[in-house]
Subunit: 288 residues, 2 copies
């Protein structure tokens, strides 16, 4: 099975048109032939097709309120039970937590002024801004996702609002690839620690599962230019990520904490480069 690609498919620009689901699948823009959401509950969702679908959907162009999958009768298409935050719905929730982009394809049979009159059109990348549950018109719970189009203007004063990628590039397509690459290595460090904070061992739980953050020791981007490697990454809870980034504590070369009691928890197969720890102490710690 081919690797799931998050972001643009090379050679398929936004606006590309396809005559059928078969062609969408053939070009890898949206692989499943039937399902509206392409994704897994471990990796996230790489693409969605808007086509007919839920009466509760709202399409404002740059912003889409998308209703999740499940709970409908195979016979009548009516909502007959509550949707669960599982499978493809959970995949979309993971995109939200991990900042992964999703490809959006609009179909001719999607009820929206933004739909093509025939076939299917790839309409670019969206981020999942938030998700929540509500009672649909049927009276059953559905999961809803707010999708916001990623900025693609090329104006000279455009900046990339994603802090960690700023300064590397101003082109959004490259930025997306960076976000995705960051996400892979970030996922790796989080899975290595099973989402437990390396400082306090806390496990932060959400409705989409455990949550942790990958923290760069020497920051990415100008002027620090730290590398995006496992040797420069920590798995931290949000509290210790804020504290680390803003000089609330540092880490000695023997992994003792400075400014906090205790020792950094470190797995045997996680080498941390001491030069990055020294860089952090020098630049972010008030009293190193």
């Amino acid at each position: 099975m081919p690797t799931r690609i998050f972001g643009d498919i090379p050679g398929i620009p936004e606006g590309s048109e396809f005559e059928s689901r078969v062609m969408l699948s053939h070009y890898g823009v949206h692989r499943p032939l039937q399902a509206g959401i392409s994704g897994s509950q471990l990796e996230g969702a790489d693409s969605i097709v808007l086509s007919g679908g839920y009466e509760d959907d709202e399409d404002l162009g740059d912003e889409i309120i998308y209703t999740g999958h499940g709970g409908r009768s195979l016979d009548t298409g009516q909502q007959v039970t509550d949707q669960q935050l599982a499978r493809q719905n959970l995949a979309l929730a993971l995109n939200c937590q991990r900042g992964l982009p999703v490809r959006v394809i609009r179909g001719y049979n999607h009820r929206s002024p933004f739909s093509p009159t025939e076939g299917y059109r790839y309409d670019g990348l969206y981020r999942i801004d938030s998700y929540w549950r509500e009672r649909g018109r049927s009276g059953f719970y559905v999961w809803r996702f707010r999708l916001v189009k990623l900025v693609t203007v090329g104006a000279p004063n455009q900046v990339d609002e994603e802090r960690q990628t700023y300064g590397e590039t101003r082109r959004v397509d490259v930025t997306i690839q960076r976000i995705v690459r960051n996400t892979e290595i970030a996922l790796h460090v989080k899975e290595l620690y099973e989402y437990q904070c390396q400082v306090c061992r806390t496990l932060v739980f959400t409705s989409a599962g455990p949550y942790a953050e990958a923290a760069h020791i020497q920051p990415l981007g100008r002027p620090h230019n730290g590398p995006d490697t496992l040797t420069n990454l920590l798995c931290l809870c949000p509290n210790h990520h804020v504290m680390f980034d803003f000089g609330g504590f540092g880490i000695a070369n023997d992994m003792g904490l400075i400014g906090l009691d205790g020792q950094l928890h470190q797995k045997a197969n996680h080498r941390i480069d001491r030069q990055f720890l020294a860089y952090h102490r020098e630049h972010f710690l008030m009293n190193p």
Copy 2:
């Protein structure tokens, strides 16, 4: 003393020129006549003037690496001691933590291709992306701030990356006013609890002081449209903010926690509207 204004001064658009510091002060664009940073270590910084100044500064137009204040000899202007993260430097650090914009003014004597040839020019609003300490060319520590210009393109597919304000408006100037207004009420709830989390009483410390987040119970913006009022706000640590936003716990009408042990800590002068708690439980909690 007039209130400190964060954001544009009404009637003074970006690009406005002034012949002297006296005129800058008169129009309220940058009030102090001598200091390069206008701000307080309780409120943050509202404006800076780039003029001559530190040899370590870097001006790339949309991105500025700005060196903090202090440690220089009054006689020679040479750096003779380490800079401290206090006073105006701490003010800039607070902007970073609180998301407050700063007005940037370039002077004729600022060594940069972006400087005016005479007088002073108001060059718009920047956010403080990050700050850190490093040894300047003098060998003494200086504090450095990376400023990134706030996006002002009016392209039709521009979106506001600030999650909480998306959907309200696409005009950046209005957005800035919203950020500032949000920040005032957010500051209020944080100060009410002295930056302690209402769930766990944790106090997160950084080099710029205690850190907490103001969490909206019923989210702002479409489609939730919660109000930006104290009755809809909580003071949370980053961990409990993530958990709350992603359905890791809820709050009952009697302020008992759902999904966590214990009770929400609530000050007598902080009324929390139960309809917002019910909205959150209904839409974000998996098993309410």
